[in-house]
Amino acid sequence: MTTTVSPEAIKAAQAQLDAHLKEIIHWHFSPETGCPYWLDWMKTNFDPRKEISSFGDMLKFSHFADESLRDLQPEVWVPAEFKGKPFNIFETGGTTGMPKQRIGWNDFRVDYSEFSDKISDEHFPRGGAWLMMGPTGPRRLRLAIEHLANVRGSSCYFIDLDPRFVKKLISNKQFDVAKQYMAHVVDQAATILKHRKVSGLFTTPKLLEAIAEKVDLYEAGIRGVFCGGTSMKPQEVRFIVEELLEGRIGFYPTYGNTLMGLAASVPLLPEDNFSITYYAPQPRAVLRVVNPNKTDETVAYGEWGRVELNTLTKEFFMPRFLERDETIRRAPRAPYAWDGVGDVRPFGAMEKNIVEGVY
């Protein structure tokens, strides 16, 4: 399998991104289509329609202040074109206190319809039921997974895990209760797998380990696992592929969140040594891997840097948001003609022990 991407393909992807960006900028900063937040912003800053003509110009924006997603009413994000249309309110993962919210109408469907083309019928048979075991509630993922299943002619069972509750338990050092809660979640999934025919599973790495120790997933009918939510070191990926799924079940790791959407991973090759690389759904979202101390600069390929996210859809514009993640910048790899992010982990993971993966 060839993984190299031609310079022409890379150039074409850049041109496509620039054209998409111009369209999105024009949309969000024109009074007839834009949202109150960005139109107000333009009054005290600059007019991006005049100054942004290629993705390189995005450096003219400062980093997006994500507090505004928490502090402002969601209506300020409604583009004029969508005015009067009820919107979905999606909230970020494990935040306690007032959460950050992103509104949307159809973006999640676009992302997950596209993702459906990246998973095989062998692992996720069309018409075969899915089970989602993980954070549902106010998260975009809940609707997205159901949409993905539906796109493939399938329905989906849901077992909820509330990461905010788990986070509280851990900060209160109620580890036993956290374990009981996790067992409660896994028990419910085991019951579904025992009594219903399910072939596709979405879950998080920790929950996958817990369910795989309780249920022989292959014997239970599972043929594909779509996994996300926390970082996965290469040895953890290898553990999942070889020990939990025993090479018999397809494994699709993904990186994503409410603000970006879904970055799919390229299929693992032996030379990857289980190191996963994800590619953003460009041009709707663009990931840059930046020098944490000079965020205008990207790091070289193979170097660690901080993840910077740009979300560029008609429903939501978010320039240069610094994620709380760090990653290895990876070169384009077929079928993606843009940069990838490898071995994503919480920002500062090498310096301090970060509690993540509560689910």
Partner: protein
Amino acid sequence: MNVPHIPVLRLGRSYESLDKFEVKNHRTGELMATVSSVNAGIIRKDLGKLAAARASLKKFTCAQLIELSAKAGEHFLNGTLPFGDKGHTQTAQQYIETLSATSGLPHVMVKRNMAKIHHALTNMKTVLNGLSRGLDLSIIDAGYGEQFGTKLTFCPTTQALGLVMPSNSPAVNSLWLPAIALKTPVIIKPGKEEPWTPYRLIQAFIAAGVPAEAFGFYPTDHDGAGEILKSCGRALIFGDKNTMAQYANNPAIQLHGPGWSKVIIGEDCIENWRDYLDVIVGAISDNGGRSCINASAVVVPKYAAEIADALAQKLGPVQPTTPEDPNARLSGFANVKMADFIDAQIDDSLKTPGATDVTAKYRNGPRKATFEGGVYMRPTIVLCDSFQHPLANKEFLCPYASVVQVPQSEMLKQMGYSLAVAAITKDPGFTDQLLNWPEIERLNIGPISTMHVSWDQPHEGNMFEFLWKRRSLERGW
């Protein structure tokens, strides 16, 4: 030549992980080996296969396994054995050099530890005879039999013995050696700075003919260690007071915590205290003062100041040497932070009135010393005015002891738990009190160092009784 890599041993299968840690020479920083490390999930998965591991040993009789243990002892002491999975081998001398370089133990002490392990392996019959109180081990093979005029039946308490090993002293591995002859697979998490001894022992057993399926060697993290303790059925853990507290009251876990071992001198022998100085010095400082059976307190009814001063004169001038020096008496610290912590804790506790560092005046230099790139803690004798002083009943990973003066009638009540006690007394009344005192695990009566070990007697628990339990059996046919 490439650096050796120590793989995980998964009950007969060698496994190179993508997660590895490095073990380095504590003095030069030279990389000695990389060691594969796995998560708790892999251990959990393998523990599901223990029945096969146990079956691999069940094929042998105890007598055969005792013979194989003796052969393993010879391989361990003298053999050239596989060293990792990259084609390296390890001679006995290379083992000594590697262990010394990473743990800080000088060669002479490594050799003494090797001799102890060799002795335990080559005398396994005697060891098991002592632990089982003379049981005919063919009864274990058959599951039942008759001896001592009674019917005897034993069943295993566990599928495997779990071990969360320390890095401080290789001879602690002697504790698990009887498990193999008792047909019990071992699941070992090695100490981070000392993977060498359990790995070499496993290779020695395999070279002797014991099936590789009987051995699990899992360098792992805190969660993995917890999994071994939780899931093996029976496990040993070594650690400090806090670690011990977590597992207290769990009969499936045998705790090996601080020893708080002591030398006590009775009123009847105290006038001759000078005669026992060498025994006391050895009890405090042999093996670099790293063992739980090193004395950390000397309890006397009179002459505490004089005894402390005499010990300080002998121990205070002891200095670091090269690891190869046959007269080396101090161990280096692979973990320099540990030396910093000990030094700071002693200094801090000395601020509490009632204690004096008697060694200070004979040391001519700081307690924490650097020599040829290594960090060492020089011997420290502290005279304490009572057991209430924070330094009176403390144990550190170096030659350290308090000297406390207590009337003989108060000694046992005041000194608390002791793993090993050398009681220098001929007084029948006091001896009787000592024999009946439950807070002493190992009792040596007379001038016998606390460091004297007989592996055929229990050490913080009886390994035979830990792995096998007697039950009733009636057979109709």
